[in-house]
């Protein structure tokens, strides 16, 4: 497949409100492959660009279950199977005493899953990304808001998409080279 020379068209906005309105209009106009960039999380923005479901909670749940099982089974195997030791006449599988470490391991695995699961789902670390080719994009981490329509979108057309984005009265428009 031939690689697209243009990654997408990017529009710059002044405020969170104009970005969220623009994202809504763009999505309603039938563009599917779009993304929005902001210097802080904006409530409801992900929904406006058609992103409703994220898998982070599932990853954390699985991580927590694995952690809890690991914690308990480790203690059970070490204390009751591999090297049973009689400690004050307590049963080898003294489950009440194993609860604390089981709990800590649940939290540990779930927390690690939350962080690394989120990073993996986001595709981070990613040292290079085409959006950074736009010099004004450096302001996306300060006080500007950006909306991009990817060239892979079925409705993408260089002139028409640009015209559509201009209709949203952005501050500036740039083509993103890939």
């Amino acid at each position: 497949m031939k690689r697209e020379r243009i990654y997408g068209i990017m529009a710059e906005f002044d405020s969170a409100q104009t970005l969220i309105d623009a994202a809504k209009l763009t999505h309603q106009a039938g563009y599917q492959k779009i993304d929005a960039y902001s210097p802080f999380p904006i409530e409801g923005l992900a929904e406006e660009i058609g992103f409703h479901y994220n898998e982070v909670p599932l990853v954390v749940l699985i991580g927590g279950i694995i952690g809890g099982l690991t914690g308990y089974l480790m203690q059970y195997w070490m204390s009751a199977v591999d090297y049973p030791l009689n400690i004050g006449g307590k049963p080898y599988n003294s489950w009440p005493a194993f609860i604390v470490i089981t709990f800590e391991m649940t939290i540990l695995f779930a927390g690690i899953s939350a962080v690394f699961g989120m990073l993996a789902l986001n595709g981070l670390p990613m040292p290079y990304h085409p959006v950074f080719n736009v010099p004004r994009f450096a302001l996306a981490s300060k006080d500007r808001f950006f909306l991009i329509v990817f060239s892979s979108d079925p409705k993408y057309d260089p002139a028409k998409t640009r015209g559509f984005l201009e209709g949203l009265s952005p501050r500036s428009i740039s083509e993103v080279p890939s």
Binding site: S38, P39, P125, A140
Partner: protein, 451 residues
């Protein structure tokens, strides 16, 4: 409501996304390090070296250089361990519990409170490792396969502690790091020096603020807060089990877990204030860390201080009500025994002096708060000294009574960890944004959107 109108704002008016960003990132990127910074860091660094010297000598000679003997086998090492771990708790409370409770004022102080947690836990972690007597075998605490084919004894609270503290350190570090990622992107885009761009760029991991990324990020952050909340409560609970599961009079009580957790938050907020008050002054951050933050922290100290006072009260009450002669003697011995002065000082520092925080004028005065916080930190250290040393020095049999006298090596190690903690704080304020920039942006009115 007149009360609300009088309340200081969380962030002073007049700031925009741009000015908040510039103000916080400029401290790291453009502000030159002052002579005062070099002096402070130099002293802290020398104290760290003193600690390393004391630990080096300990490794050479063994724990005989400390004041610990039988019956007081747990001396300064455990006192300091509990003190430092407790201080760390406020950072997690601010970053996780207040996030879940939607207390947005936390946004201005969570970053350095989390840093404080991390450094305090690092200081705490030193003590159990050097206290084991043969520190080169400290890894036996972990379930690592070894040639003897034995495993740790999981029925012991000391093992629970190993897991609780190492989980706590890991989760605190992850929480702190993940909160830094968007701000690293800000610094990457603001920095002019190529090395700074490279380092902050690598730490930002290519963060670009995509709506999809923010969505997953916020979910992960919230879940992490939800996980850290029971974790932080469990950590000091497990630390208290180290004592409460033992049968020594003065240790064997069920009030220990809640009162340890309250005491931890009490001392932690005192440390937060002792750091925040000079930092906001030196770096002119009064607009971001306002009177409101100081007042709220003072109120948390007042509340947790009263829980701690209740804990002391119950201990004293049970000493009388249980009818147990050893418990009764423990109480009498605290009040009139050889360590009566530390016990009375503890009551003055932790219960009586902090009551001045009921006075609004003192609660909003940075100088008064700084001094009261210092008193509380001393008081909380004395509390652990009373629990560890005073309980051990008089147990069931008169023949096993003794006294504990800390040596210069004990003091050098303890003061050295304070130096290490401060050195880390000094580096932190110069190298990383000490206030979370992206969370500050969400406090501005312009960040609100209607759909």
């Amino acid at each position: 409501m007149t009360v609300d109108a009088e309340r200081a704002p969380v962030i002073e008016p007049g700031y925009t996304f741009g000015t908040v960003t510039e103000k916080i990132s400029a401290i790291v990127l453009t502000r030159p390090a002052s002579n005062g910074w070099f002096l402070g860091f130099g002293i802290a660094f020398m104290l760290t070296m003193m600690m390393l010297y004391a630990i080096g000598f300990l490794f050479l000679k063994g724990i005989g250089i400390w004041g610990v003997t039988i019956p007081i086998g747990w001396g300064f090492a455990i006192v300091n361990f509990v003190w430092w771990i407790g201080i760390g708790h406020a950072g997690t409370l601010i970053s996780a519990i207040l996030l879940l409770l939607r207390q947005s004022w936390r946004n201005s102080i969570n970053r350095f409170a989390e840093a404080m947690t991390l450094f305090a836990v690092s200081c705490a972690g030193i003590f159990p490792a050097i206290h084991v007597g043969r520190p080169w075998l400290a890894y036996w605490l972990f379930p690592i396969p070894n040639t003897m084919r034995v495993w740790p004894q999981f029925r012991s609270p000391l093992m629970w502690d190993v897991f609780a503290v190492s989980t706590y350190a890991t989760i605190s570090a992850l929480f702190w790091f993940i909160g830094l990622v968007p701000d690293m992107a800000t610094l990457r885009d603001r920095a002019t020096h190529p090395a700074a761009r490279l380092i902050y760029g690598a730490l930002s991991m290519g963060w670009r603020g995509s709506a999809r990324h923010w969505h997953r990020y916020e979910t992960a952050y919230l879940l992490l807060a939800g996980l850290a909340t029971p974790l932080v409560l469990s950590v000091h609970t497990v630390v208290s089990f180290d004592f409460a599961v033992g049968i020594v009079p003065g240790w064997h009580t069920t009030i220990f877990p809640p009162y340890f957790v309250a005491g931890a938050i009490y001392s932690g907020f005192a440390m937060v204030l002792m750091l925040a008050i000079p930092i906001r002054k030196i770096y002119s951050l009064e607009d971001f860390i306002t009177e409101r933050h100081l007042q709220n922290s003072a109120k948390v100290m007042l509340a947790t201080g009263l829980i701690v006072a209740y804990g002391y009260g119950i201990e004293a009450f049970m000493g009388w009500y249980s009818g147990d002669r050893y418990d009764a003697f423990t109480l009498w011995n605290r009040l009139h025994g050889p360590y009566a002065i530390p016990y009375w000082s503890l009551l003055i520092c932790n219960i009586f002096i902090p009551q001045v925080l009921w006075i609004r004028k003192l609660r909003t005065s940075p100088v008064a708060l700084f001094l009261v916080s210092g008193v509380i930190l001393v008081g909380m250290w004395l509390e652990r000294f009373i629990i560890v040393v005073v309980s051990l020095h008089r147990d069931f049999l008169t023949s096993s009574w003794g006294m504990y006298y800390p040596t210069r090596w004990d003091w050098m190690t303890y003061i050295g960890t304070i130096g290490m903690f401060l050195a880390a704080i000094f580096l932190f304020v110069r190298l990383l944004p000490m206030i979370s920039i992206f969370e500050m942006r969400t406090l501005l009115p312009e960040s609100e959107v209607k759909e």
